[in-house]
């Protein structure tokens, strides 16, 4: 693999850029990836432009193996249909493609995430009288249940990384390492949470998310401050390699459909 070191003029990047690049790196070429809109879509399309040209991207709108030139704004933009190998109905995408466990990686984001990787995209507060009404489930619960593994991409904020989510929209590891099998969920669940500060992975013994990497230049204390539970740090904490010039240039060249040129 060719690695371009950032040049003198490219040593700065935003934490969002680092997050997208770290998330893109976590995908392997040839995998089939069920992509949520927003941060996951950016990262997956970046991976396809970098080291994973044969990544199979699948969106819940029914677009199978799509290769959009520009990033979609919605989950069903025309650019996804036009570049897809095949477009199937929405019932089919869930029943024939997601549910049987044919998808390697589910790529999700969320509004709240707890120490076991459970995700909330439904409400902040009580369901019947929420303080914030969020969009809801979409395809996420079954993506979280059925993909062989799940990667979560979301910004690291104390109000989002909580001890316990207000509402379980999508199950991560429930409340411990055996919950998924008890519930009959067949995928492995969240294997990695990639944020703008670092990477969290479930402890194999407890299924609790622990800090396994910080991004270049990020202190552990800052990550802890933005995490709503007592965050454990892995004994062999890694540091994410900084973005390469190629990674940054590729990410910055990607534009969303309809954005001003």
């Amino acid at each position: 693999m060719t690695r371009t070191e950032p040049g003198a003029g490219e040593t700065t990047w935003t934490s969002d850029e680092m997050m997208s690049i770290a998330a893109a790196r976590s995908l392997r070429d040839g995998q089939a990836c069920f992509v949520g809109i927003g941060l996951p879509s950016t990262a997956a399309n970046l991976a396809r432009r970098l080291h994973a040209p044969n990544l199979v991207l699948i969106y819940e709108s029914g677009t199978l193996d799509t290769r959009p030139d520009e990033l979609p704004l919605s989950i069903g933009d025309g650019v996804l249909a036009a570049s897809a190998l095949s477009v199937v109905s929405v019932p089919e995408i869930f029943n024939y493609w997601l549910q049987p466990g044919r998808i390697d990686v589910g790529f999700l984001s969320g509004a709240q995430l707890d120490r076991f990787g459970n995700i909330n995209t439904t409400v902040i507060g009580e369901y019947d009288e929420p303080s914030v009404r969020l969009p809801g489930s979409g395809g996420a619960p079954e993506i979280a249940a059925s993909c062989r593994e799940v990667i979560v991409v979301m910004r690291h904020k104390a109000r989002a990384f909580v001890e316990s989510v207000d509402f379980v929209t999508s199950v991560g590891h429930g409340s411990g390492p055996t919950d998924r099998s008890v519930l009959g969920l067949r995928g492995a669940g969240p294997v990695r949470v990639i944020t703008d500060l670092g990477v969290l992975e479930p402890d194999p013994q407890t299924a609790e998310l622990v800090l396994t990497a910080t991004h270049h230049g990020i202190e552990v204390e800052r990550v802890r401050a933005e995490t709503g539970w007592e965050l454990d740090v892995s004994a062999d904490l890694m540091i994410t390699a900084p973005p390469t010039g190629t990674e940054l240039r590729t990410l910055r060249s990607m534009r969303t459909v309809g954005d001003p040129r």
Partner: protein, 270 residues
């Protein structure tokens, strides 16, 4: 044989106060023109069913058409929230809004069951999530062969199913291509159906990826060119992402929304 009528006639004939109505179209081919006509005709007390309420239901809720919303993802895609929906839920303005909430897989299978003449559908879903605590159209069944417990969702059979399609022929056969979503299922699950189309043509040229709804399952076809905008119609026009972004500002504010609504209603009077 489907009847070909104007959109105003079609809505007047098919949609009644208190009906359960599904306007479907997954991002693509959202039947905005039909929704706007329902607003203009002042329908009230509707149960609005749709996987992704999108701007169209935000508008219909803000206009006071709905008393209940059945959905699985209620946001402005890629932009943010549906503020009219949020306002109705939080404050009951302009009318109280009850909700029945599912996942996409659950909603899609509810339509499939409805289209299939079955009272429920089975799926692997909802296990461990909090939705079943709040939604009584989610239950479970046991496999009679393996003993496994699976989720069950109740069929949806709307009174009226409304979709937008690219074309129909003069007999009322309807052709849809691109992202086809759950439109076929929504029409087949509904007691009555309305299809708005970009154009009525003499003959439906075959198109790769097209789905055809035969005339004998469609009640009324209405020509409504541009009727999916600001969503899009593959082969006719693109999604107006700027309009989706601009809606955020209008929707946030009751006054700005009121102006939008007056303008919509005024258009018809003009």
């Amino acid at each position: 044989m489907a009847k070909i009528a104007s959109l105003a006639e079609a809505v007047s004939e098919l949609v009644r106060d208190g009906d359960t109505v599904a306007l479907e179209g997954f991002t693509h081919l959202i039947p905005f023109a039909a929704g706007h006509e329902i607003i203009r005709q002042g329908r009230r007390g509707l149960t609005l069913v749709r996987m992704t309420p999108d701007l169209i239901y935000d508008q219909m809720i803000g206009a006071g058409c709905a008393s209940r919303l059945v959905f699985s993802w209620g946001g402005n895609p890629g932009v943010g929230s549906l503020h009219r929906m949020r306002d109705a839920l939080a404050t009951g303005w302009p009318a109280p809004l009850a909700i029945e909430e599912h996942s996409h897989a659950g909603m899609a299978n509810r339509y499939v069951a409805g289209a299939s003449g079955l009272p429920f559908a089975v799926l692997r879903g909802y296990a461990g999530t909090d939705l079943p605590l709040h939604t009584d159209t989610i239950s479970s069944v046991e496999c009679p062969f393996t003993g496994e417990k699976l989720a069950a969702v109740r069929a949806i059979n709307p009174d009226v199913g409304i979709i937008h399609a690219q074309r129909a022929d003069r007999a009322g056969n309807v052709q849809i291509w691109g992202i086809v979503g759950v439109q076929k299922e929504a029409v087949l699950a509904s007691t009555r159906s309305l299809v708005t189309v970009e154009e009525v043509v003499d003959e439906l040229e075959p198109v790769p990826g097209a789905v055809v709804l035969p005339h004998w399952v469609v009640d009324v076809v209405a020509e409504a060119p541009g009727g999916a905008a600001p969503s899009y119609a593959d082969g006719y026009y693109d999604r107006d992402n700027a309009a989706y972004r601009a809606w955020d500002r209008i929707s946030r504010d009751r006054a700005a929304f009121g102006e939008w609504l007056s303008s919509l209603r005024g258009e018809q009077a003009a």
